[in-house]
């Protein structure tokens, strides 16, 4: 973030020149103006307009009647909204630790220069490029009774597969399994790049001390990637908090709203029942929750940069 003017390598002479070059000029603004126009109209304005809408009984086209905090009171009295907050946390709890631990496990196993490791890395990342539509389609076919892959596998052992997406106790777990399958590539890659940044000579020193592999793992590898671990956790919390497509496409939020996350509540409220104000209020609550996690991410990455 160094000011361009004070670049350390500049000599006194060229610094005097660069003062001239980098003097503030209005026409320089033209370079950033196209982006800033879109940024202001499609991000900054909607952000504040959304907050404004959340205080109104709004419809599709206008903000309608001002109702103060009424939408927020309605939200907290709505058992389905409270359920959706709980569902979202439950989903994060199911997916984030699994993604971090499986990702770490795969990174540790596949951090080597062999061809088979490269092929497996490519395989584990491949699902990440698919869209949520394809992923949910694949997993609904896996979970579907009788015809599904899971039924077939259970059938091999003469057992009956659980009805993952229909059972109230299992539906969210089914969505979580599909999500971990979809998202495992990113944590694995983040861990891999962290592992590759550990200086090799530490390992050589450990080998000279006759440290065994467990000792090396516990006292060198894992402490070195502690920060990446926290980073992965926070990135995944922010990401998984925004669950929508999987729940909408796999269960429609059912059975009995048990798999309805906050974003799906917003979709139902604002874009199906067209209760725009209430939907906007729910978005603000989601925004607040995500902001807390994003701030944690900022703090962690900044400390990493300082270190």
């Amino acid at each position: 973030m160094a000011e361009p003017r004070t670049a350390g390598t500049a000599t006194a002479r060229s610094r005097r020149k660069s003062v001239d070059i980098y003097a503030p000029q209005w026409r320089n603004f033209l370079f950033v103006a196209p982006y800033l126009t879109i940024f202001a109209t499609l991000l900054v304005f909607p952000l504040f307009w959304g907050i404004w809408l959340s205080f109104h009984k709004a419809d599709t086209f206008s903000s309608g009647r001002f109702v103060g905090l009424d939408n927020y009171f309605r939200l907290f009295r709505d058992p389905i909204f409270m359920q959706s907050i709980w569902n979202t946390f439950y989903f994060v709890f199911l997916t984030v630790p699994a993604l971090a631990l499986i990702g770490l496990f795969l990174a540790l196993c596949l951090n080597r220069r062999t061809r088979s490791a490269a092929v497996l890395r490519a395989l584990f990342f491949s699902s990440s490029v698919l869209s949520v539509t394809i992923v949910t389609l694949i997993w609904r076919i896996v979970f579907i009774p009788d015809l599904g892959l899971l039924s077939m596998v259970y059938g091999l052992f003469g057992a009956q597969a659980p009805a993952f997406l229909a059972d109230p106790h299992l539906a969210m777990i089914g969505i979580a399994i599909a999500t971990v399958w979809w998202c495992i590539g990113l944590p694995m890659m983040l861990f891999l790049s962290a592992l590759q940044q550990i200086p090799q000579d530490i390992y050589e020193a450990a080998a000279l001390d006759n440290a065994n592999r467990w000792q090396t793992l516990w006292s060198i590898t894992l402490p070195s990637i502690k920060r990446t671990f926290i980073l992965v956790i926070i990135i995944q919390i922010v990401l998984q908090f925004q669950l929508f497509g999987q729940a909408w496409l796999m269960t429609r939020g059912g059975p009995n709203n048990l798999t309805k996350p906050i974003v799906l509540y917003i979709y139902n409220t604002a874009f199906q029942r067209w209760d725009i104000g209430l939907g906007a209020a729910a978005s603000e609550i989601l925004f607040l929750l995500i902001l807390i996690a994003a701030m944690a991410q900022y703090l962690v990455t900044r400390r990493k940069a300082d270190a």
Partner: protein
């Protein structure tokens, strides 16, 4: 796999257990995809009579011929190419210009504006969706290509990435050119932009992939069938397939929709992985 064993497993028992676990996970990754492909190659009637027939001959490409002949999948692919391609091109243009501006030029309010743009990184899509939807209703932009492309252009990530990249280029390069009386735009276009190709590739891949796979905004903005993108279109045909007679056909459509991106991934794997994981850490 036997020939690779010596590479991946060491000698100890523990290594073998780990190897077994990785292979098991690899099967979990690949199995569902292979199963869907197998289903797509089966005749619908045969599947209805005996689900287990998916594991043996005869296979047929009839479902794919039907997909090409009857479904809307081509027009959805076309829409997705326009939307993801357009978004990528405009993102690269806007982000490069703004990145150069923030990194190299000075204008009143620059520092404050840059901090505001950075704060934009923390705003999740859901916080602005409803207001955006209203704005696009006012402007009559729903069910149009601009309506699908414009929201993605507001993302601050590209500007952030390009600013970082321009800052890392030694300043002597453009100072020399400017002292030769080249205009700011000329310096940007002729001297610096060619140096940013790696960053353009990262940003381009990341933007294209994100737009290609985006589901929420197209779902609420493109409500007419002819404006569906691939994600929305495929989702619209796939509900309630438990009762459906044509599961092989639906699977063929899905494979048809998922294959292009997987093939691109096979060829550009290294770049895609770098782009996606680089973007996550930002």
């Amino acid at each position: 796999m036997a020939s690779h064993n010596s590479e991946i497993i060491g000698r100890s028992f523990g290594d073998r257990v780990l190897f077994g676990l990785v292979i098991l996970l690899a099967l979990v990754m690949a199995g569902p995809v292979l199963y869907v492909i197998a289903l797509s190659l089966k005749d619908n009637k045969e599947l209805m009579v005996d689900p287990h027939s998916v594991f043996h001959m005869p296979y047929t490409i009839k479902n794919y011929i039907d997909t090409i002949g009857t479904s809307n999948v081509f027009s959805w692919v076309f829409n997705s190419i326009i939307v993801a391609g357009g978004l990528t091109v405009f993102t690269l243009i806007l982000s490069s210009l703004a990145g150069y501006g923030f990194a190299r030029l000075n204008f009143p309010g620059r520092a404050v504006l840059f901090v505001i743009v950075l704060l934009g990184l923390a705003v999740p899509e859901q916080a602005v969706l409803i207001a955006r939807h209203q704005i696009f209703s006012w402007l009559g932009l729903h069910n149009s290509y601009p309506g699908l492309i414009l929201p993605g252009l507001s993302s601050a990530f590209g500007v952030f990435l390009m600013t970082q990249y321009f800052r890392a280029i030694p300043k002597e390069l453009d100072e020399a050119a400017i002292l030769d009386n080249a205009s700011r735009f000329r310096v940007f276009w002729k001297v610096l932009l060619p140096l940013t190709v790696p960053a353009q590739a990262t940003l381009g891949i990341f933007t294209f992939l994100g737009a290609w796979n985006d589901y929420f905004w197209p779902l609420i903005s493109a409500t007419k069938k002819e404006m569906f993108t691939l994600t929305v279109g495929i989702a619209s045909t796939q509900m309630n397939f438990a009762q459906s007679q044509g599961i092989g056909f639906l699977m063929a459509q899905a494979v048809f929709a998922g294959a292009p991106i997987l093939i691109i991934y096979l060829f550009f794997q290294k770049y895609i992985v770098t782009a996606v994981s680089g973007a996550a850490v930002r």
